[in-house]
Each structure stands twice: as C-alpha cells, then as structure tokens.
C-alpha cells in the first residue's frame, strides 16, 4: 500500500523521471492484476489519512480503469468491468460512496468513480440501488456541505451520462432525484456550491422527469425553484440556473406558456444585460433556443399540413410576441465588441448576431423595420462598434424576410456598405467583406447591376490586401460572386448550355485571378482560415469561368502545377513546416480538380505527365498519413480519369499501387474513400482494360467491407464499385459472382428496415439502398446481350432476382425512401422485364409498378419520370 501511495503522489512530481517511473509502476500493476489494483486504489481513495494528492490520483486512476481515458464507456470497458469479481466491485462502490464528502479537492473524484460505475451497471440492470444508495447519504444527521456537494456532483455526472445512453432507465428514480435536487437548491442553508451542483444535476435530469413536468403542480414547483435561483447573488448559480432554463425550454417548449410573461421573460431580459458575460450569453442562448424550436415547429406544421394532417404541436410565437422588447436589447448587445477580441471566442456580440439571424427566420418581415431603423441611425456612427453592429444586424437578417420586403432596402444600402470597406476599423472592414458575400448570394440580381458591380469588385479586391480576417471574408465573397455571375449568365441561355461564352467577370477575370494568386503566396495563410478561403475562391473562379476566360484558366493551371512541383523538392525542417507544406499541396490539388474539368482534353494531355508524376510523388510522401492532401490528390486522379478516359491507360501501372495501398489503409477513412472513388473512375474510364486486375481489386474490396469498424460511409461506395466492375468487364463478371452475390444479399438484408428517424441515418440508408440496387442492375445488364436479352450466364443471377424484387417491394413501403432509390428500382424492374420476359410476370406486382409510376409523376424529376415510364412500357407489353 505504501508503494501505491508513493507512486500516486509521484505521478504529480515535478521531476519527469519520477513521474514516468510512477506511471510505469502503475501500468505494470494494472497489467499484472487489474482488479487487484482497482481494489487497492479504492482503499487509497477512501482513507482520509492519506494526502490529498494521493487520494485524488487514486480516484482518477480508478475512474480511468473503469471508463477508459476519454470518459466514454465503450463495449470493451463495459465488458471488462462486468467481468470483475462481485466482491471487488461491491467494495469499490462502497469505497466511492464512503469517500463522498471527505475529499479536500474539488471536483470530487469519488463522485466520478461512483458515476462511472453507475453508468455501466444501471442500464444493465445490475445495480438497481445505485441512485437510492447515493441519495441515502443525504438522510439523517451530520450532513456536511462537502457531502451534499459531492452527492450532487455524482448525481449530475450519472444522470448526464446515463441519459445519453437511455433516459428511461432513470425514470423510476425521477421522484427521488427531484426531491433531493430541488430540496438542495431551495434549502435555506444551501451554499452557492451546493446550489450550483444541484442545478447541474437537475439540468441533466429533466429529460427523464417527463411525468413530473407534465403535472402542473410539480412543474410549478420545479420552475419556481429554478427561477428563484436566478435571483441568487452568486454569478455561478445564476449562470447555471439560466442554463437549466434553456434546457427546459428546449425539451418542454409546450409547457412554457404559464411562465413566459411573469418569470422567463423578465429573467432573460435581466440576464442579457448582465455585466457577467457568461450570464448574458445564457440569456441570449435562451432566445436562440426558443427561436430554433419555433422554426422547427413551423417546418413540422408545414410538413403535416402538406400531408393533410393537422399539426401535432404548434408554435406559441414567443419570438413574435417579444420582438418589441427583445430586438432593441439584441441590437444593443451587437455593439459590445472588444477591440482585440479573439476571433474564435464566443462573445455576447456574436451570440446576439446569431440569435438575431434565427429570429429573423422566424418572424420574417416583422424584423425588418426595427432593425432597419437601427442600421440607418448607426451606419455612420462615430464609434466603430456601432458601425460594425449595424452591418452585423443587417447581414444577420438578410435571409429571413421576403425578398420583396428587402429588395428596395438592399438597393439603397449596397453602395454605402461597399464604401465602408475603407473604414479605419479592421473589425468594420471584416464585417463589410462578409456582408457583401451574403448580399451577392441572396440578391445577385441587385448586386450584379452596372450601378453596383464595379464598386463591389473594387472593394473586394481592396479587401484582399487587408489583414487575414478581412481578406478571408473577401475570398468567400469572391467565391460567391463567381458562382452568381456564372449562373446569371447561364440563365439567359438555352437549357442545354453549361458554359456562357462571356460574363460579367470576363473583363476583370485575370486581375481577380492575379490578386488571389498573390494572396495564395502570403505567409499568413494559416491565420483566420485564409488559406482555405483563398483556394476555394480560386477553385470557384476556375469552375465558374466563362469560355472567354479560357486562356487565364490555362495559365493559372500551369502556375499552380509549377508550384506543386516545387513543393515536392522542399525539405521541411520542423513538424510545423511539414504541416504547412502538406496543406499547400492539398490546396493546389483542390484547384487542379476544376481546372482539369474545365480545360480541353488536348490541353490536359499536354500536362498530364507532370500532373501524374507530382500527384504520385505527393501520395508516396504523404499518402500514408491520411492527410487531406492525400484525399485531394486522389481527387485529381479522378478528375484526370474523367477527362482522359481511355487515354489514362499509360498511367495505370504507376497509379495502381497507390490505390491498393490506400484501400488497405481503412483507418484513414477519407483517403480510403477517395481511393475507392478513384478505382470506380478507373473502371468507368478504362473499362475492360482492367480485366487482369479484377481478382486482385475485388479481394481487396472484400477485405475493406469485412473490417468491422470501418467508417460507415465507405461500404455503400464499395458496393457501387462492384457494379462498376460488372459494367466494365461484362459477362466475365460471372466468375466473381460467387464472391459478390452473398455480400450484396447481406447488405440488402441490413438495408431492409430502417429503425431511426435521424436525418443522417435516413440519408445513409437511401444511399446504401440506391447503391445496392444500382449494382444489381449493373450485374443484370452485364449478363444480357446488346438487345437486353438473356445470355446463358444470366442463370447465375436468376435465383436472386425474386429476392431483389421482394427487397424493392419491401422498401417501397418506407415513407423516407428517396426518389433516387425509386428511380434505380424502376430501372432494375424494367431491365428484369426485358431480360426475363413473361417468366417474371408473376413476380412483379401491378401494385408495385403503379406505385412507382405515380411516385414518379409526383416527383417532377425528369430522370425518374422517364425511367418509370420506360419501365411501365415494358410492363404493359407483357
């Protein structure tokens, strides 16, 4: 034990050797007998005679043994803890419980240990007493303040963590927890520390206290406790209780009515004006949250009305009702910037701008007049804070109100704002560079008129020479400018055209490009995200170039290619230099992608040797690190393949090993994904030239999908690549079907039902389904002849057809199914009808065909409609 205590103390030693020796000793003890060490740590934690440092370290080490370094409890930790002997687990729990209130350091490590154990055991049903035991420490005589604080801490940790896993688990304890927490908050003797800890625990508990919140008198009681806490003299208590009200507003928006006027509104009004930044931020956050909920409710209501349903919950329009009083406060807060504030710091002024933006989305036209008044009277204010605030205000509300309401104002404000780029405050210049981009995106038809465009362009050009924060925003605005100019020019042309012969930027194109290239050589590129913005502007300028800018695109391309070659010979001396070099290489690759797309094939051919050489070298140097540069390098290869098609063949042998290497490196998911994409592009471009390598590539891809924790975005792409192989080599795919069909079947089974309403999950599922069906289609097509009739090889897949059709029928009942999946389904059914003729008649149901057809008519998607009609044509022919 002395050894352990000494080692624990030594982990905090100022001598590095001592620290390392101590940590090694602990690691060894853990490797030899982890449960034994944990028991000993628990003893050290509970023994009041040991030093504060030793006990604190014992607690932390113990917690890390239970829940891992990151505090997240994963499957391994869960399993490893539950396998520990019963008596040791009970001992550790008891020690943690007994330690509460005896620690000299804060926050309590015993509380963290107790919470970590609860988070594993309670959801598994292994420790139903966790909460009651903890709360029982508050019963009886002699409850000290330290004890109450640490019990509340433990409660706060465990409610927060368990709620993340499954809030229902704690529902049976809702009453007891609330009683303890609200009791601690409202007790006349409670110190600020106790109150803060209790409010945090309450905030973490609100989700599973649904029943209590639904009962009026209980809700009143809770609300009264929290509202009263906001009147505390202690800033931390005030901040925490307002934060708690924000959480409550988010979860129980529909219950706020009774409290809004008399309590919440005045509380937030005071909070927003507080001199304590943290309190003011929470006050603003309250209204941002309310506005977000109202926006959400409005969207939901619209969706439901569109389906002919009456909305299940409606907005109470608090934002609209409060705007009279709320807007002046927010506008005033906008002007609370500091001269030297950190760009990444969350400040009252930024919070107010974001809040105003969302409120504008909610109350729309109603926001315009009050804000406009503020803008008008402050745009020429002598204090830069007010000039900046008026630009922030105007910029924040641009996307909420109707275009009609704003158009006239934008016309009038455009030039005065453009001129403010000459302001003597860099903060104001920054905001001007930003708002111009917003105005270009939202009101292109105004900003691109001859009265405004020349000054606008001049202002943005001037801003490129200013400090990074300003030039970054100017770059973003130039990106938007190129895109809008391009689209405006295109909209006057015939529908098939996709490049205008000339456009508004043509005259100044080389000047703008030159200025951006100059920025791209500045040595402060890594400040304020200037590098990302600058190269995005260059990429946009190339992607959205008119035909008459072609020579400038070609010139810029060769400039950047030269720079890429130069970086490859550089020898970075420090890690920092290496990082910068990689970033620059990535940036250049980002520019080369649109350049290759825009340039004519003959011009690309003349530089393709250089491009391939550079990219290959870059991948050899930095590819293994999984950097963004590697991802972008594969993007360049993809662009080349699309452009050169079969003429890419000479480079195949050089590029192939790099693709293979990246495919084996699944932990760098984005690089791996880019390599899968490049492989697809090879198949699409080189077709049957890849025949000798099919076996090798397919085996590799099989390994990729077999990796259990592979990033989930990779699998659907790999499945598509299978289809590309079929498409590329035709009937010869039949040899590999034994390998492919089982994978496709398993994938289909996993894609049959979706049990989530999360948007990301829905999008993922649609992608997966689309790719599966696309691949089945490609295989089917590969096994038919030019007239879409069956070949002898077709029997290899005929057994799976009924399964796929069943799969389609099943997923068609899913309301979240996308048009894209419907479209491939229609294509697949049509191909089946053509290939199998009457054989298949019994398997394709009329209802399914009709369902897809009517969905196609509703979709307004030409691709889908024509495919569905084509399918229907083959169906009725039978």
């Amino acid at each position: 034990m002395e050894h352990l205590v000494a080692a624990l103390e030594a982990t905090l030693s100022t001598d590095q050797n001592e620290r390392e020796a101590a940590q090694n000793w602990l690691d060894e003890a853990k490797a030899n007998d982890k449960p034994g060490l944990m028991g000993a740590l628990a003893n050290a934690l509970v023994t009041v005679d040991y030093t504060t440092a030793a006990r604190q370290q014992a607690g932390l080490q113990l917690k890390n043994c239970i829940s891992g370094q990151h505090g997240l409890i994963r499957e391994e930790e869960r399993a490893s803890w539950t396998q520990i002997d019963d008596s040791i687990r009970t001992h550790i729990k008891q020690c943690a419980l007994n330690t509460l209130g005896t620690e000299k350091s804060h926050p309590s490590t015993a509380a963290q240990v107790y919470a970590a154990v609860s988070t594993i055991e309670v959801p598994l049903g292994m420790w139903p007493d966790a909460v009651p035991m903890l709360l029982s420490r508050l019963d009886g005589e002699g409850v000290t303040e330290d004890l109450t604080v640490s019990v509340m801490d433990a409660l706060g940790y465990l409610t927060g963590d368990i709620t993340d896993i499954d809030p229902n688990v704690l529902q049976p304890f809702a009453n007891d927890i609330l009683t303890a927490v609200v009791g601690a908050m409202t007790s006349s003797t409670a110190s600020a520390k106790v109150q803060t800890a209790a409010i945090k625990a309450l905030a973490n508990s609100i989700e599973f206290c649904r029943d209590n919140f639904n009962s009026k008198d209980e809700r009143d009681h809770i609300m009264m406790a929290v509202c009263n806490s906001t009147l505390s003299g202690d800033a931390k208590v005030v901040e925490t209780s307002i934060q708690c009200l924000v959480d409550i507003a988010d979860v129980y928006y529909h219950h706020l009515q009774e409290y809004m006027n008399d309590a919440l509104f005045p509380i937030m009004n005071t909070a927003m004006r507080s001199e304590t930044t943290e309190i003011a931020l929470q006050g603003i956050e309250f209204w941002t949250t309310i506005a977000e909920r109202e926006l959400e409710l409005e969207d939901q209501a619209e969706d439901q009305m569109a389906k002919g349903l009456s909305p299940s919950e409606v907005s109470a329009n608090y934002c609209l009702a409060a705007q009279d009083k709320l807007l002046p406060v927010l506008l005033k807060l906008l002007a609370q910037q500091e001269e030297e504030e950190d760009e990444d710091e969350w400040t009252v002024s930024k919070a107010a701008a974001v809040c105003l933006g969302i409120i504008a989305e909610v109350i729309k036209d109603a926001v315009v007049d009050p804000v406009l008044q503020f803008v008008q009277s402050n745009l020429g204010h002598e204090d830069w804070r007010y000039r900046d605030a008026s630009i922030l205000a105007f910029g924040s509300i641009l996307s909420g109100p109707s275009q009609d309401k704003l158009a006239e104002i934008v016309v009038q404000a455009a030039l005065p704002i453009v001129n403010l780029i000459q302001d003597n405050s860099v903060v104001v210049q920054d905001s001007v560079a930003w708002i111009l981009g917003r105005m270009i995106e939202l009101f292109p038809e105004i900003m691109l008129t001859p009265e405004i465009f020349p000054s606008l362009l001049e202002a943005l050009g001037f801003a490129l020479s200013l400090p990074p924060r300003v030039s970054t925003n100017s770059c973003w605005s130039i990106s938007s400018l190129a895109e809008e100019c391009f689209n405006v020019a295109l909209s006057t042309m015939d529908e098939d055209a996709y490049q205008p012969p000339s456009y508004l930027l043509s005259q100044q194109y080389s000047t703008v490009m030159g200025a951006l290239i100059q920025v791209s050589q500045r040595d402060d590129l890594d400040e304020s995200g200037l590098g990302v913005a600058c190269f995005d502007a260059i990429s946009s300028l190339i992607q959205f170039s008119a035909a008459d800018c072609y020579p400038h695109v070609a010139e810029a391309t060769s400039t950047f290619l030269g720079r890429l070659e130069a970086t490859l010979t550089m020898q970075p001396q420090t890690a920092e230099q290496y990082k910068q070099l990689l970033a620059m290489q990535g940036f250049i690759c980002q520019v080369l992608q649109p350049a290759i797309t825009v340039l004519e094939a003959s011009d690309v051919k003349s530089i393709s040797d250089k491009i391939v050489m550079s990219v290959v070298q870059l991948l050899r140097m930095g590819g293994k690190s999984g950097s963004e540069a590697a991802e972008d390098a594969f993007g360049v290869i993809s662009a080349l393949l699309r452009k050169l098609e079969r003429d890419f063949a000479p480079y195949f042998d050089t590029v192939k090993p790099l693709v293979v290497e990246a495919l084996q490196n699944t932990q760098h998911s984005q690089t791996c994904l880019a390599a899968v994409g490049a492989l697809s592009d090879m198949l699409l471009a080189l077709q049957d030239q890849v025949k000798p390598y099919v076996q090798e590539f397919l085996s590799l891809l099989m390994e990729v999908v077999a990796v259990p924790d592979v990033d989930r975005s990779i699998k659907p792409q790999v499945i598509s690549t299978f289809g590309d192989f079929a498409q590329a080599i035709g009937r010869d795919i039949v040899v590999y079907l034994q390998m492919l069909l089982p994978v496709l079947k398993t994938a289909s089974e996993s894609a049959t039902t979706l049990e989530s309403d999360d948007e990301d999950d829905i999008a993922f599922m649609n992608q997966l389904r689309e790719n599966i069906l696309e691949t089945y289609t490609n295989i089917l097509q590969a096994l038919t002849d030019e007239n879409a009739k069956a070949t002898p090889e077709l029997t290899a897949i005929s057994g799976d057809i009924a399964f796929v059709l069943q799969f389609i029928t099943h997923i068609c009942s899913d309301p979240t199914l996308s048009d894209a999946v419907y479209c491939v389904s229609a294509g697949f059914i049509g191909d089946c009808l053509r290939a199998f003729g009457n054989e298949i008649k019994g398997v394709v149901s009329e209802e399914l065909v009709q369902h897809i057809l009517s969905r196609a008519k509703e979709s307004g998607d030409a691709k889908f409609e024509s495919t569905a009609r084509w399918m229907y044509g083959h169906y009725t022919k039978m």
Binding site: V182, K216, W476, G677, N778
Partner: protein, 531 residues
C-alpha cells in the same frame, strides 16, 4: 461552441470540403447512370422540348460538351426577355404563322420550371391571356394547341393566375374543345379544366354553371384512352369537391352512376379518382347518402374495401364512413353488406392513415342503434380499436376515442363492461393530458360511463381503482380547473360522484413575481414529488 459555426463565415471551412466530396459522388453517379441508360434506349421526359436540337456532343466525351453551344441555327432562346418580345407579337399579330411561333415560344418558356412563376406573372400583366383565349377558336390547329397549352400552364399557378384565365372567358371555349377530333387538343383542354375545377368553389361553380358536365360526361363515355379517362375522372371529381359552399347537388349528382362504373375500371388511377368523387358526393346530409344508396352504390363501395391499394382504400373507407353517418336505416345497409368484417381487418392495416380512417368510420357506427353497436362488438374489432386508442398517432387516437365514447354512450351496460375488460381505461386516462379540448371532453365522458357501470352495491368501484392506478385521478382533479365549462362540469361530476373523499383544493399556483422573488401561491405540502 457549436454556435460559432453560425457566425459570419466561420462554418464555411467544413462545408466546402463536404461540397467537394459530394460533387465527386454526383459526377460518378451521373456517369454510371448514363452508361446504364445507354442500354435501355430510354426517351428522356423533357426531350419534347429539345425536339429539333442539333446534338452538340455526339461522341460522348465530356470535353466536347464543354464547348459553348453554337446558337446560329437554333430556336430562339428561352428567356424572360424573349417572352416579352413574344407577347408583343401575340398581342398584335394578324398572321397565323407569326402568332404560332410567338405562342409556341411563350408556351415553351412557361413550361420551363425555372421560368414558370415569373413568366406567368409577365404573361398576365401583358394582357395576353384574353388574346390566347381568342386563339382557342382559330381554325389553325397548331396555334390553337399552343395557346391552349400556354393557358393550361397559366391556370396551374396561384388562384389569381387561374382566375385570370377564367375571367378572360376561357370556360366556354374549353367546353367546346372537348368535342374536337384531335386527341391531344382534347387532352390538353381537359387538363386546363382540371386546373380550374381544382382551384376552389368559385371557379368550380362557374364551370358547373357553364354546363361543363355535359361535354365532360360525353368525353368519359367516348371510349377514350386510359390516360385521358384518368384525367377526365379527376376533373369530374374536382367538380364534386368542396364544402364552402357545396356544389349544386342537383347538377353533380348525375355523376354518381358514372363514378360507380369508373370505380370498377381496371386502371387504379381512374378508380381512385372515381372513389374520391363518390366520397365527396356522399359527404353531407342524408339525401346525399340516399342518392348513393339508390344508385346501387353500397355493394360496390363495400366490396372495394377488399382492394389492395391504399389509394383506393382511403376514399372507399370515407365513402362507407359517410353512409354510416346517415339514418339508422342507411347505416344498416353497409352493415348488412358485411362492412364490419372488412373494418376489423383494415383497422390492423400497416398504413397509419388507413387505421385512422377506419377508426373514424367505426365511430359513426358506434353512434348508431344498440343493435348496430352489438354488431360492431360481435365483429371482434374492439381489441384492435383499443390498440389504436393506446398506440396510434394522435389523430388515430382521437378517432378511436370517439368510437369508444360513442359505444359507451349507445351500447348497453354489458357493452361498457366489455370495453373495460378489454383494457380501455389506461388509454382513455392517457388522453386526459392532451392539448385537444374536445378529446379530453370525450375521454372524460367515456370514463364517466365506465365508472357508472362499475359502481357496486357495497360502494366499491373497481374501475375507480384502475383509474387511480393509471394516474387518472390527479388528471381529473386538475381538469376541475379547466377553462372549458363542459370539461370542468364533467370532471367535477366524476370527482364528486366517485372520488369525493380525495377532493382537495388546489389554487392557482403559477409563479408570480413578488418582491422576494417568484413564489407559489399556496404550496401546501413540501415538494409534490416527494409524496
């Protein structure tokens, strides 16, 4: 802080990378799609618009297509500027060919999705609509057709757009065009009529007043193509639709036999619109229901309850549901035809909407005679009904609640006990806390019936205990403070009759700002949740 991403351009860095990734996926997808389509010889839907395009990219490589399109030999560009020019020509052209070209251009621009809205506005403001209507009577079929198409596009916009076509006097012409020989003219005319009929009661009545029923029925009986028939059926159903005010029933009722015939057509689109038409025509007073029954409609609609498509089922359930809102005799007709057997199946349908509609239909039968309520119970539908009451979405629960309440009011005591034995109490209690005042009221009403039949001679009441167990007593006590008088009285009555001893006074306890902070009016106990 996450919100920092919403400030100025802070969030852009991560979005541009995602955009680049998505772009690469899209290009790849596009290429794959082209290769698959190549093997299919699919005619693209919008090819009509590109009919005489000289192809610019024939040998399939991407770079070729990037070369700007040579416009020398092409049709005029589709732009709003050219639209204005075309309208000028339309307004004063005296030559068919010139008018035709301008009208065609105008139609093409109106058909482009990106132009439709502004173009419609420009066309209307230019005053060209009445000129286009004039073209509907020219002896030049091509011009007539283009004008008709343009008007169809205009009429598909907002109500004001549709009215612009109506007030230009299009209706009589459109009626006449239905007897044209050219199928495409007839089809286009019928689309335009559908847009007008579907826009609301006012244009609908103008159409009916202009005698549109006659040529429309003639079209339906002229053995048209399935597509045409489907559109005509849709138009006819639109003419029967709407409640404020309803269409003149004397005119529209002649559609009943037609709809009944169409409801048995082989095309599911025709069937669906015919059934919707019947559901509109049977929605209302008992005379309407009588008209449907007299036309022999009941067996047809009840039989269609076995259809597999939900597009048919929804209007079909509406229709039968409408009939059972009628007199007791009318209600008996579908019951005798076995509708309850179908309902007991449909209430378990996988689509929530079908379950909801079925609950609604059942609620109407529950409002019938005692023997009709018995028939309902005998069809063994109650367990599923209670499942809907407990687990449906809100609207389904609401309809199910109506059904349960009606059964409890119109059935005998034995029927109410049956509801209790099947577990109606908990789901009814759960409805007491919803926002919808009407639902709370009928749930209370049902619970009162439940309590009434459970009262024992010795004063005990098992249902009262179950309500207590389900947490209902607190809710009912709270409802004594409800601002709605009916709810307040029901709750008061229930508490006084069955829960009197637990009555306690709960005052207004919303927090009020006082000098010392926010205070509850009268918290009698410590914390409510510690009890």
């Amino acid at each position: 802080m996450d919100r920092l991403q919403d400030f100025k351009n802070k969030g852009k860095t991560s979005t541009v990378r995602n955009r680049r990734r998505e772009n690469a996926f899209e290009l790849r997808k596009q290429k794959r799609f082209e290769q698959t389509q190549k093997r299919r010889n699919v005619v693209m839907a919008d090819q009509e618009n590109n009919d005489e395009n000289t192809t610019t990219a024939t040998n399939g490589t991407n770079d070729k297509a990037l070369v700007p399109v040579d416009n020398a030999n092409k049709k005029p560009q589709l732009s709003l500027e050219n639209l204005r020019e075309a309208l000028k020509v339309i307004l004063k052209a005296d030559d068919f060919d010139e008018a035709f070209k301008a009208t065609q251009l105008c139609r093409r621009i109106l058909s482009k999705e990106k132009f439709t809205k502004p173009a419609t506005k420009i066309v209307i403001e230019s005053g060209a609509v009445s000129r286009l209507v004039e073209f509907l009577s020219v002896p030049h079929d091509d011009l007539l057709y283009e004008a008709l198409w343009a008007l169809t596009n205009v009429s598909s916009g907002t109500s004001a757009d549709t009215m612009a076509v109506v007030s230009a006097g299009a209706i009589p012409y459109l009626g006449n065009l239905l007897s044209r020989e050219s199928e495409k003219v007839r089809e286009q005319a019928i689309w335009c009529l559908g847009n007008i009929a579907g826009d609301g009661p006012e244009p609908r009545d103008l159409l009916l007043g202009a005698g549109i029923m006659e040529p429309l029925m003639a079209t339906i009986y002229s053995n048209p193509s399935t597509e045409m028939l489907s559109t005509a059926t849709w138009v006819l159903s639109n003419l029967c639709r709407g409640k404020k005010p309803e269409p003149n029933f004397e005119i529209v009722k002649q559609a009943i036999p037609t709809f009944l015939q169409l409801a048995q057509h082989e095309d599911v689109n025709v069937q669906a619109d015919a059934m919707w038409g019947l559901s509109y025509l049977s929605d209302g007073d008992n005379d309407k229901i009588a008209a449907l029954i007299e036309a022999g409609g009941a067996p047809i609609v009840v039989n269609l309850l076995t259809h597999s498509s939900i597009r048919i089922l929804t209007p079909c359930i509406r229709c039968v549901g409408n009939i059972v809102t009628g007199t007791n005799e009318q209600t008996q007709v579908p019951i005798d035809l076995g509708c309850l057997q179908h309902f007991s199946r449909l209430i378990q349908h996988e689509k929530a909407n079908i379950r909801k509609e079925t609950c609604w239909a059942l609620s109407n039968i529950g409002a019938g005679t005692r023997s009709q309520v018995h028939a309902l119970i005998e069809s063994n539908v109650v367990p599923s009904l209670l499942y809907c009451l407990a687990h449906g979405d809100f609207r389904t629960r609401k309809e199910a609640c109506w059904a349960v309440t009606n059964i409890s009011n119109n059935g005998c005591d034995e029927d109410v006990r049956y509801l209790i034995s099947q577990g109606c109490i908990k789901p009814l209690v759960d409805l007491l806390t919803v926002q919808d005042v009407k639902v709370v009221e009928i749930a209370l009403d049902a619970l009162r019936n439940v309590l009434r039949v459970s009262q024992m001679a010795d004063g005990s009441n098992p249902s009262a205990d179950w309500i207590e167990e389900a947490g209902g007593v607190d809710h009912i006590e709270m409802l004594q403070q409800h601002e709605n008088d009916t709810i307040y009285e029901l709750a008061l009555d229930i508490v006084e009759s069955y829960f009197a001893e637990e009555d306690e006074d709960v005052g207004d306890i919303a927090p009020q700002m006082t000098e010392s902070g926010f205070a509850l009016a009268a918290p009698t106990q410590a914390a409510p949740f510690s009890l």
